[in-house]
Symmetry: C2
Subunit: 403 residues, 2 copies
């Protein structure tokens, strides 16, 4: 396997410590952490690295000619951006787990990789231990792909599982997720759907070759879910899951969004519980494929990072092949969704441009409508849908379909 790969690690939180453990355990990887850069050297840590490894100066890693690879798992998007771009500009390959930063800057990061002829790998940034990006890039490398849909955030899924399967109140479930280290330090990232969104942006680049700005994508989380919604779903023998999806709606168009969805027991993602992630890849000829694994937690993320480290050992880089296809599909929000809308203000449905309303319910305690509405209208009316008094969930058309 040749010489030992010298890794400079940025970040030594939950994931960084996991990487330290995993790299030390995988002796065949022939890799070692040579230096670890952290913000505060003196902070007490659950795992103490070997003496002399810690530094608080990024340059100790960036200017060390012996460093072969940088692994960056910093919990701060702007620090992460600065580390990753500095490294690429110096020609040092990088493995990063910073999905928010990557999703926001991907076009620039792709251009930089070309310009400085080095690689940025980030399989760990999407779905923890499930190799979604690598498979989309290498295995589903053709135009038969129709849809990628899944549960991409382990923390919100853990919360919904506690609520649905264990009848736990939402707040308790959130607190438990944070205690177990599944939730990001800012929980809104998880429960408002942004973590799923960033992963979906990255997935879409590797699935369809198209970059969509995160700000242009309808994203709705689970923070306003109420006992009414949960009871409603249970009565229909369904679960509510936070689902991210990108779907070809025509040969030349696709749509994408992140929102809670009613999921029936016949669907693969119905049984994706706790902190697990599950992704369904649908294509013209192979029908549906389902990948499932731990989506959160220190060691699963760390072992995904290890896979990227090993791939770099063998010179692997994303080729972004699909971006060179002649005709890329276009992002389209002019598609009709069927949604469940729970609300307090009885004027709300009339202020939304529903194409039609198929069900209405009102009572002293809550109200809902079910109806069809354009995705573009959901985006333009986004402000009306916020706050604890409103909850929106997608109702997929074909409940009997396996997806």
């Amino acid at each position: 396997m040749g010489n030992t790969l010298n890794i400079g690690l940025f970040g030594f939180g939950v994931v960084g410590q996991g990487i330290y453990q995993v790299i030390n355990r995988a002796t065949n990887a022939h890799a070692r952490i040579k230096r670890i850069c952290v913000r505060n050297i003196n902070k007490p840590r659950a795992i103490e690295p070997a003496p002399g490894l810690l530094t608080d100066s990024a340059d100790d890693i960036l200017t060390d000619p012996e460093i072969d690879l940088i692994v960056e798992v910093v919990d701060d998007a702007s620090a992460s951006y600065s580390i990753v771009t500095s490294a690429i500009r110096r020609g040092i390959p990088v493995v990063s787990g910073s999905k928010a930063m990557i999703a926001r800057h991907l076009p620039e990061l792709i251009a930089l990789q070309h310009e400085f002829n080095t690689a940025l790998l980030y399989d760990a940034s999407s779905c923890g231990s499930i190799p979604v990006i690598r498979n989309l890039e290498e295995y589903y490398d053709n135009d038969l792909l129709l849809e990628v849909k899944g549960i991409l955030n382990g923390s919100s899924n853990y919360i919904l599982s506690r609520v649905f399967d264990h009848g736990e109140p939402y707040d308790e479930a959130l607190a438990r997720a944070q205690k177990l280290g599944f939730a990001e330090s800012d929980p809104s990232f998880d429960i408002e759907g942004y973590d799923s969104l960033f992963k979906l942006i990255i997935i879409t680049v590797h699935a369809l070759g198209v970059y969509v700005n995160p700000e242009d994508v309808f994203t709705y989380g689970i923070s306003s879910i109420s006992d009414h919604d949960i009871r409603y779903a249970r009565e229909k023998r369904m679960k509510i899951k936070l689902v991210a999806q990108v779907v070809k709606v025509a040969p030349d168009r696709f749509t994408m969004f992140v929102m809670p969805e009613f999921v029936s027991p016949s669907k693969y993602i119905y049984s994706v519980d706790d902190e697990y992630n599950g992704v369904v890849i649908r294509g013209e000829c192979y029908d549906r494929q389902f990948m499932f694994g731990k989506g959160a937690g220190s060691l699963p993320t760390a072992s995904s990072i290890l896979s990227d480290v090993m791939a770099r050992r063998h010179g692997y880089r994303y080729e972004y092949k699909k971006m060179d296809y002649m005709e890329l599909p276009v992002y389209d929000t002019d598609v009709l969704l069927k949604i469940y809308l729970r609300f307090a203000d009885r004027d709300l449905p009339s202020r939304l441009p529903f194409a039609n309303i198929t069900e209405m319910y009102s009572s002293e305690t809550y109200n809902y409508v079910i109806g069809e509405i354009r995705l573009a209208d959901l985006i333009s009316c986004r402000a009306l849908l916020s706050g604890p008094e409103v909850f929106v969930a997608n109702i997929p058309r074909f409940f009997l379909d396996k997806d």
Copy 2:
């Protein structure tokens, strides 16, 4: 994407016709079938290729300097061996779906690829549309892998699903599988476990870097399953599935076998029904990952072939990296299994060297024991376990474990 890739196709049965359809449909693949070699040109076919494509002379493809890649899906292991080795010796890369041939000749095929500096890809040979080989080779490229276990044969799984979920008699289910084109032309290949075995041999090379001769692996199929066994499993709220597995039993040792197994509802593979395949990959840090997809049928297999074709477009080849690891684990059959043995001849249990027997049942209609026995003893007593009067199934130790 450069010039069109010229493909020479060997075999135009169910899978070959699927490849023809898929390649024609995947316009971005920029590939075309230039020539198709079949045994009998005049045989009527469900899909007729464009005029002039068919030939019955292998040399029309092998000596054509315009052919960039050979795709081989011939339903005859010795013809397949001859085509694949001839092509490699001429430096022509090959994509093959012939698992039996590959499993039997893999060490030689690896040596030939090195010697003639060309590539043989065969992701389609294992688990139809699920990218198991590529992922084991590229993504689980480290020594944290502990186990690969799954339902690798769509046809036998289809039959068991019909029997368990639809109460259909075994013979009817088999006939239906053959009618739907899931079963190999020789059904014993599927139902006696050999198809699963060959896939397991290939998987083990890419999972652990070790080639094991198929003849050295205990392989037991489902042909002798009876209503008694099915009723027994149902009473325990379990299903019987035909499971192939390779498992690290110590850091330096692993075991492997193919046999029916009692599967409880908590296991991922419990819900792998019909012609689907499902594979669980377990590792030290990432726990379990589950991949699921169509494992049989014309188009799923063809789209897997297309993935290999596209990979060749980008120069991909298996590196067999794990085979170069310094310390490879050793295949070991000195492991204790817990099995269910149904039998007619009441002397049978005493002729098998059970380490212990924990349950015995006798009645006028059937008898069974449950006990522990060494895998090596099962292998040496293999002859005693054949025939319709005997059925053996594995009972995994920890029913509550998700695997």
